[in-house]
Amino acid sequence: MNGLGLVKGLLLTFKHFFATYLVDIIGGKKSKARRGQITADGLFTIQYPEESVTIPEEFRVIPFLVYTLDEEGQRTYRCTACGICSKVCPTQCIWITRAKDPETGRPITESAEFYIDIDKCMNCGSCAEFCPFDAIKMDHDFHIATYERGETHIFPKEKLGKPLEYYATIRPVNYQAEEIARAAKAQARATT
């Protein structure tokens, strides 16, 4: 009981306090680039919203539906309404209505309606993981604060749709791998 441990502890906090700024002053821009990274030794704070932490590729918020645009600006969704995502969804927050051929009345591989209740979604990524058509993917956009809930938190198909190019920008590595796999599949189908 001599207070030495206390002094030691205080010295450590002082060191932490001064070193933080010192490192940043000496290191300048280099030190700032390390901020919030594993090599960080200076200030740790990230100045959101001016800057943001690096969002890794696998990061997931809520799902979106991938579509491509044709020349007339019509959306072609990759989704075939197979229903796997709604089956694997742990919270059962996905509703799909399968489209029907207007003439024959038989179901076709297209969804007429697609809803996700984002108030139930637990961002687990199961839908994207098990989708056989790479049609549903997890978004990176976490700026989803709203003033209203009402029915606006049940996202319909239009709101869920995002272009393929967007997907390619947020998940470049996955996108590349999938495109290669898709091309190989298409070729295999063409040869047989």
Partner: protein, 221 residues
């Protein structure tokens, strides 16, 4: 919306020679500006989201940059209640009581899916499907859990809301506008005193097809 957020652009022309020395604002704007930059959240966590809220308060995201550093455990001193996590029926009466104890102007953020609308646990028997069933919510943040940056985005959204409020319309300077939310009671299931008549009506309804309803506690399907 955008124009209203700049405190020193009230739409009054400043003569060119005074532009560097004088700035003009309206009382409302400076008042809202001050309020929005000193929102004290209540130190109040329920579940998983609370951990993300702590991370938002910690050094990496640090919401003291927005004037929110003083997290008050007492509702009397807090401006914002961040409902961070699943609201269960057992926890509902304390939450409503805490909300009533907060002094106006008060704001509520429903952080995460659970607080907004029940979330993944919505189907459970002890979960409230959204805190907005009982108390008014100002900002909803989806995500399970929202990342610290997502929460910061929500807080900024709330600040924007505050900046656009008008003193004339605000309830807290006029008498009798603030009504206390009646505290739910834990009975056989939680019940809202505001819905007593409806509950009485439903539980005393004559059974239509008694054979089918047997064993399901008289709950109409």
């Amino acid at each position: 919306m955008e124009a209203n957020q700049d405190i020193n652009r009230p739409g009054i022309e400043i003569p060119a020679e005074l532009r560097q020395q004088v700035t003009i604002t309206t009382l409302e704007r400076i008042y809202n500006w001050g309020r929005s930059n000193s929102m004290w959240p209540m130190m109040f966590g329920l579940a998983c989201c609370a951990i993300e809220m702590i991370c938002t308060a910690a050094s990496r995201y640090d919401f003291s940059r927005f004037g929110m550093e003083v997290m008050r455990p007492s509702p009397r001193q807090a401006d914002v209640m961040i409902v961070a996590g699943t609201v269960t029926k057992k926890m509902l009466p304390p939450i409503v009581r805490l909300y009533n104890q907060m002094s106006v102007p008060k704001y509520v953020i429903a952080m995460g899916s659970c607080a907004s609308g029940g979330g993944p646990f919505k189907e459970g028997y002890n979960v409230v499907p959204g805190i907005d069933t009982y108390i008014p919510v100002d900002v909803y943040i989806a995500g399970c859990p929202p990342t610290p940056q997502g929460l910061l985005n929500g807080l900024i959204t709330l600040q924007n809301k505050v900046k656009n409020e008008s003193m004339k319309e605000a309830g807290w300077y006029s008498k009798g506008k603030e009504v206390e939310v009646p505290i739910p009671v834990l009975g056989p299931d939680v019940f809202d005193p505001r819905k007593m008549d409806l509950i009485y009506e439903e539980t005393h309804k004559p059974l239509e097809i008694p054979a089918e309803d047997a064993g399901t506690e008289g709950e109409p399907q």
